[in-house]
Symmetry: C2
Subunit: 220 residues, 2 copies
Amino acid sequence: MGSPAKVLNGDTKERILAAAEKLFAEEGFARTSLRGITVEAGVNVAAVHYHFGSKEALLEALFARRAAPMNAERLAKLNDLEAASSGDVPPLEALIEAFIAPSFRMLEELDPAGPPASQLIARFFSEPEEIVQRLMREQFSDVGARYLATFTRALPDVGPREVAWRFEFMVAVLTHLLAGMHLIDVVPGATPGPADQPETIRHAVQFLAAGFRAPSKGAA
Amino acid sequence: MGSPAKVLNGDTKERILAAAEKLFAEEGFARTSLRGITVEAGVNVAAVHYHFGSKEALLEALFARRAAPMNAERLAKLNDLEAASSGDVPPLEALIEAFIAPSFRMLEELDPAGPPASQLIARFFSEPEEIVQRLMREQFSDVGARYLATFTRALPDVGPREVAWRFEFMVAVLTHLLAGMHLIDVVPGATPGPADQPETIRHAVQFLAAGFRAPSKGAA
DNA sequence: CCATGATTCAATCACCTGATTGAAGCGTAT
DNA sequence: ATACGCTTCAATCAGGTGATTGAATCATGG
């Protein structure tokens, strides 16, 4: 009746993917065992190697299933923005939202991917395994570079190096939010309260836009 | 001649702590084995259990050695600020720097703790082990609450919930910086270039202060 | 010099890990 | 019905893990 029970059969591959996504997101790659995954999925241990080949290959399949569409959506939104503001630079707030929203979309319960998917993406950012870091580099390098260039164009008064710093800060906020906001557990009063996806995005965009626009020089 | 070689003796406990700090920071708790630690330290495996009791207890000792002084410094700086601006609220930039700087101080090569210490703190934020999360809660709850309250007082026009959100964002930026700024590896052009500690702090404070001060309402 | 306590050592424990194997089960086309 | 290919299964493998033990070593005070 619970989740660890073989239902019928047939979708073994999908069940493994779902269980692995959940456990990798919650416990991390190193702490998650194939036994744990296959029990959660109600599947034999050997099924993982039959369908994927290895634990690492399972991770790669998981990564490809989530990160690729997410970044494709990022690029599409950027293209739309640049097409809309023909020739000119898109507005900063729209750029930030275009970069952030694709990750948050998966946080919705309604989304077929669901929260585990975005938590998994967030965990990828801090996983020490070198495969993970290689996959992140492959997936994010071009998208990140394109957005960074556009941000630099959108902020001519800030200076490219400063924009690069602030781009880092934006990614920091994004991953922190995807991970589930640890401070809720750490600082009791700090929980901003449950928020739906658009409200969270609104808070983040306001904060980040103001940060991006901050006057550049520090020395008076 | 390298690091994995017994030098003399005597400081076994310290050697274990140093090796564990380095490896935990680089590889995470789960991926780091006691064998790896003791080899790195040039020490027998049993020494860990003799001096600390268990792998988890070693982690606790490590945590106490770094996090406690760091948060003590945070509180001291906050007290100094509130004493300086007698009765009034300290300026926002000073508050941010007081919260951020204690973590960065350890990033300096000169500091006896060194970069591994701050990397370890950053990794604690994303470690799935429940001991880590418990330790984080114990250490950061009161400091975080005090700072959050002061930030709220310093930003009367923003509203407490909005301040809580932005406080989250600040912690996000801090941990991202402590972790070593992953984007440097992910997005080729994104590296802001090597920066010394005060410059990094300046970039972060500028960005965060502007974000904190952003006008609150989203609806026009 | 020796006795005592603190420390270090090699050896070993039970357990869990990812991986592999060969047989069994299954549906399907002949 | 039969034979074939895909899938699942229990059983097993070698290797690594944290932990523990008892003997050896060391330093120190009598």
